[in-house]
């Protein structure tokens, strides 16, 4: 599969001269299978650039939402397949304890937040309350599990052949842990991420920033590294960069993290436009 990052920023689109290299668009990742299956992970503002790569005769696409915070759905109304009558758009995302995905998504897709209503979109839109566990989308095997983040939030493991991508863009596994990481059994997201070829994981904060924002649902880069180490992944891509972190600052964080000679995996800061090939 090919994995392309179209939005790596967390919380708020952050265009500007300081964020050119890593990008200012919010969470959106394209996953292409060997058979051409298109899976889109989250619908942040990065989805606008993804549009240009979608073939005009696309028949079916899968959008997997981790949760419904605004930075993960803000681009959805600009996703071109939604405006094609012949396109089948399957959207998976978590329901709440009292509302299904349609009801939750409709809150955004209606005035005054958005001019077009969900029911008025021309595409064949199919909304699915995402099942916890394993399910297939065309050539991909998908596994979904709840993770620690305010409100119903999931992470995804997407496998094809012998390769596995794990996507947990908003995740605070260190929440409440007196020593982090705890054992795998007591660490949010562990089973999803275990042994992944590529882990795309929340790395929004520095440790001092995390100290001031514990409970907001995100990780310090040190937490992401400890989590990736515990899960035994082969490569960690830091993601959901803080809107206040400039390119230079992300470079510094990455350099510090890479200075650990015992780092057992490749560490790559997520950058808009970057593609990974998993075989």
């Amino acid at each position: 599969m090919n994995v392309t990052l179209w939005g790596t920023r967390g919380s708020l689109p952050s265009a500007g001269p300081d964020t050119i290299r890593y990008g200012g668009n919010t969470s959106c990742v394209e996953v292409r299978g060997q058979d051409g299956t298109l899976v889109v992970l989250d619908a942040g503002t990065g989805i606008r650039r993804l549009n240009s790569t979608i073939e005009p005769d696309l028949k079916r696409v899968y959008v997997l939402l981790t949760h419904l915070h605004m930075d993960h759905i803000q681009g959805f109304g600009f996703f071109q397949p939604l405006f094609r009558q012949k396109a089948e758009v399957h959207v998976y995302g978590p329901p709440s304890t009292t509302h299904d995905l349609r009801s939750r998504l409709t809150k955004y897709f209606s005035p005054p937040l958005f001019p077009v209503r969900l029911r008025d979109l021309p595409a064949q839109l199919m909304l699915h309350d995402v099942p916890l566990g394993k399910f297939d989308v065309d050539g991909f095997q998908v596994e979904c599990d709840l993770v620690t983040h305010p409100g119903p939030t999931v992470g995804y493991r997407i496998a094809e052949g012998g390769s596995a991508l794990v996507y947990i863009p908003d995740h605070e596994p260190a929440l409440g842990a007196k020593q982090f990481p705890m054992s795998p059994q007591w660490t949010s997201g562990h089973d999803l991420a275990e042994g992944a070829d590529l882990l795309i994981h929340d790395s929004q904060y520095t440790l001092p920033e995390y100290g001031e924002r514990a409970g907001w649902g995100h990780s310090a880069i040190q937490h992401a590294i400890a989590f990736a180490r515990l899960a035994g992944v082969k490569r960690l891509v830091t993601f959901h960069h803080d809107p206040g972190h400039s390119d230079d600052f992300i470079d510094t964080l990455t350099k510090e993290a890479r200075s650990d000679p015992r780092l057992p995996f490749e560490l790559t800061p997520g950058q808009e436009g970057m593609t990974f090939h998993l075989r």
């Binding site: 978590p94 329901p95 304890t97 309350d129 916890l132 599990d145 709840l146 993770v147 620690t148 119903p152 929440l175 409440g176 842990a177 007196k178 795998p184 059994q185 007591w186 660490t187 949010s188 997201g189 562990h190 089973d191």
Partner: protein
Amino acid sequence: MRQRDIEIILMRQLASYLVVPIFVVDTKGTVLFYNEPAEALIGRQFDEAGEMPMADWTTVLNPRDERDMPLPLESQPLVIALRRHVPAYRRVRITGLDGVARSLEVVAFPLQGQGNRMLGAAALFWESDKK
């Protein structure tokens, strides 16, 4: 061993910060965790006791009613919460692993997560004569 469900992990983390004694059990009634305040009532540290199947803790702690008569499983709050999926309350006498008999008030509630998944139950304890 499989990772615990997120709701169970969060319940443990919350319990570890509270001064109210709390027990957390899985769907089979196996004790997954009890916090430090509960250790004083159980009479043994959790790290020492470890996970405990229901058959063990219901035997070892010897739950009794207020007249010191054995309390059948189906009358114990945690078991009610687990089996009937409803909250339950009652006064219970136990004998801790340190051999000390204690009178407790117990509130148990089912842990039902996203999608109505039954994940286990939690119980909060108060020592009756220390209220």
